[in-house]
């Protein structure tokens, strides 16, 4: 399985997308917050987040979804992401290592779409976020 695919015919059931370690640093969450107009300490400051009852600063959910989308586009640069459907089981803590993974679990060659299991796991191997993405690839 190549690291990238350009059309639906190259996709195999069960193949794994190249995983990567997302930038979960508070520098990055601050940068993200600046662009989207969020300045809540829960995303940018560990002490401030703890005052809100969180274990520390957390990565915003939409930023996590952005990481997942980036993985899909690195794998299939010409893909159109139709949906990213995530279940947030536990917070993705900022400044801690995580891994983004994706696995192809359904292929519709007629429609040119693939379904991908997506996860964000921490160093302990715990799934913090899971879900599925649907992407349309050239036929």
């Amino acid at each position: 399985m190549p690291d990238t695919v350009s059309n639906i015919g190259e996709v195999e059931f069960g193949s794994e997308l190249p995983s990567f370690a997302p930038d979960t640093s508070t520098d990055n969450t601050k940068r993200f917050g600046k662009y989207v107009g969020w300045d809540s300490p829960r995303f940018t400051d560990h002490e401030g987040a703890r005052k809100e009852g969180l274990p520390g600063a957390i990565v915003p959910g939409v930023l996590s979804q952005g990481f997942l989308g980036a993985m899909i586009h690195r794998w299939a640069p010409e893909a159109e992401i139709i949906a990213i459907d995530t279940v947030f089981r536990a917070p993705v803590l900022a400044d801690t290592p995580h891994t983004i993974t994706g696995t192809v679990t359904d292929i519709d060659e007629d429609e040119g779409t693939v379904e991908i299991d997506i996860t964000i796991t921490n160093e302990a191997g715990e799934n913090r976020v899971f879900g599925t993405a649907t992407a349309k690839l050239p036929t």
Partner: protein, 209 residues
């Protein structure tokens, strides 16, 4: 025979897996299970017939439920129409002892799942509610457990003399089979599963890497 006793499909509100894709995945990845039980949240799926899929892939596909009690979430095996009339499967805060009693009345079996999990697991509620009557089996290996949740579950099971089962608690295709339960015999129906659990001859296993 090895069965994953705790799985969810798109029938559950937070499930994202199609049953056909579970079957494809098990075969494509040689997942070491012979079948699985669909335990959808707060419901029992009377409608779906997976017999063709089961036959096509040579995989046992059984159905159960996951209900919510004051002690957290509970797997129910052997659901039938009589049991379904006894309490509201969609409710949260059901009485665990009532669920167990009704299961016994209708030849079913209830087993608290992920008991070591905060809020939705049995251990978190023992101090408030005490030790419930009637529990014999709990899920001691859960594929979605974080931190020491399985260890907490195993400790409770040991302390209270419960037997342990395993299930992946999969909500996406690629997570099926991470934990399961080994039985000495082949089980083809929900009734046979209940009988095997009542016979207390099984072993929880983990395939987590």
């Amino acid at each position: 025979m090895i069965l994953d006793l705790h799985t969810h499909s798109i029938k559950s509100d937070d499930g994202r897996a199609k049953v056909q894709n579970y079957c494809q995945w098990i075969r494509a990845k040689s997942v070491p299970i012979d079948g699985f039980v669909l335990t959808e949240h707060r419901q029992f799926d009377f409608e779906s017939d997976y017999s063709e899929l089961a036959s096509k892939f040579g995989i046992a596909i059984l159905k159960g439920a996951e209900v919510e009690t004051e002690y957290g979430h509970v797997l129910v095996f052997g659901v039938n129409e009589g049991l379904y009339e006894e309490f509201d499967f969609s409710a949260i805060g059901l009485s665990l002892e009532n669920v167990i009693e009704k299961c016994e009345k209708h030849g079913a079996l209830a087993a608290p799942c992920h008991p070591g999990r905060p809020r939705v697991g049995m251990v978190a509620h023992l101090e408030e509610h005490g030790i419930p009557d009637g529990v014999r089996i709990v899920e001691t290996m859960n594929g979605g457990s974080r931190g020491d949740e399985d260890a907490v579950a195993a400790k409770m099971a040991e302390d209270l003399g419960y037997l342990g089962i395993g299930g992946s608690d999969s909500h996406i295709v690629s997570h099926i089979g991470r934990c399961a339960t080994r039985f000495p015999a082949v089980l083809a129906t929900e009734g046979e599963l209940v009988e095997a659990l009542k016979a207390e001859e099984f072993e929880a296993i983990s395939n987590k890497h």
